[in-house]
Symmetry: C2
Subunit: 212 residues, 2 copies
Amino acid sequence: MANTLRAIPLSTVERLSIYLRTLRESLVEGMDFISSTEIGKRNDFTAAQVRKDLSCFGNFGIKGTGYQISELINTLETILGLDREWKVAIFGLGKLGGALACYKGLKSARFNVVAIFDVDPKKVDKTYKNIPVYHSDMLKKVVREKKIQIAIIAVPTDSAKATIQRIIDAGIKGILNFTEARVPYPDEYILKNVNLAGELESISYYLIHSDL
Amino acid sequence: MANTLRAIPLSTVERLSIYLRTLRESLVEGMDFISSTEIGKRNDFTAAQVRKDLSCFGNFGIKGTGYQISELINTLETILGLDREWKVAIFGLGKLGGALACYKGLKSARFNVVAIFDVDPKKVDKTYKNIPVYHSDMLKKVVREKKIQIAIIAVPTDSAKATIQRIIDAGIKGILNFTEARVPYPDEYILKNVNLAGELESISYYLIHSDL
């Protein structure tokens, strides 16, 4: 099973996160059941897309009735690994690193920032928003002691390649990279690049190709 | 033509940004031509996906030779609207807004932050990194005068809905939303939500469903 689920494309998994958010919103609105059409409509996907994505993981819907919301929330949380706490480290305590350390959405999604790494003597060996800040030289030791599983990269781009390589060497298998550096990584690792300029590029595309 | 291109799915457009980055990198490496296989390999897509995406916009490749890199860069820049400058405003000068205002990747991609909006009397009517900071009450006037086309939302989540509504009313048609607020928007607008916790959710998925 592990292998099959590992082979599911990133874009499908990312849509699960989106569906999960919609399910939580509809539960707050007092709904018990929701259709694939409604999930799709709220996120600009077709109903067929929603059904196809969910069917990768099991048979959840009831024909004519839709999905039982609280049940599907539990299932998706388990599939996405949100039924447990994840230990996260932020690399780089600049503006972006600081913003991410404060970001409440991480903690509520059970991504717990337990360490920050930096090289600035003015920042290390202190705490930031109650999170301990370590010198990057301490990486291997802290990762082992705190059982850190996910690294968020917010260092300056020119030091990002070296930082990511050291994180891989330290055995952190999940990496979210906010820099523009692109680094090859072993198969059993998952590295996602967040491309902020790229997010704007697709907006500019639609602005140009709109009739307005 | 505008209508056809408008109908191309966001995921395809987002991949164009990724291909463009790969093309620029390969140009720096001294390459003249690149195959769809190589573009795919560098980004974890199949060659067929790359060819299919690019074929939405024209016939670019030469069979057996691949794509002429500098030519395809120019074409993709035009398609994505990167052959012109875009005027961007950031809403909310907290940590994230400040990080985005400093983010060099935006300017180099021709997204020029020309205004920041906030409501804090300590922040408004000053400049931040040479960018003027306005009170949100000035929104309509500043948007008109500075011809702002794209808004980046980095306000606290509980004021995001109202902020986005006012931005829509002011006629800014492209919106990149970093908050967790979800707001319906008119068809001729493009609103993209950046979901930071969701980025981590797909990492946790692969960590769980890995064999390691």
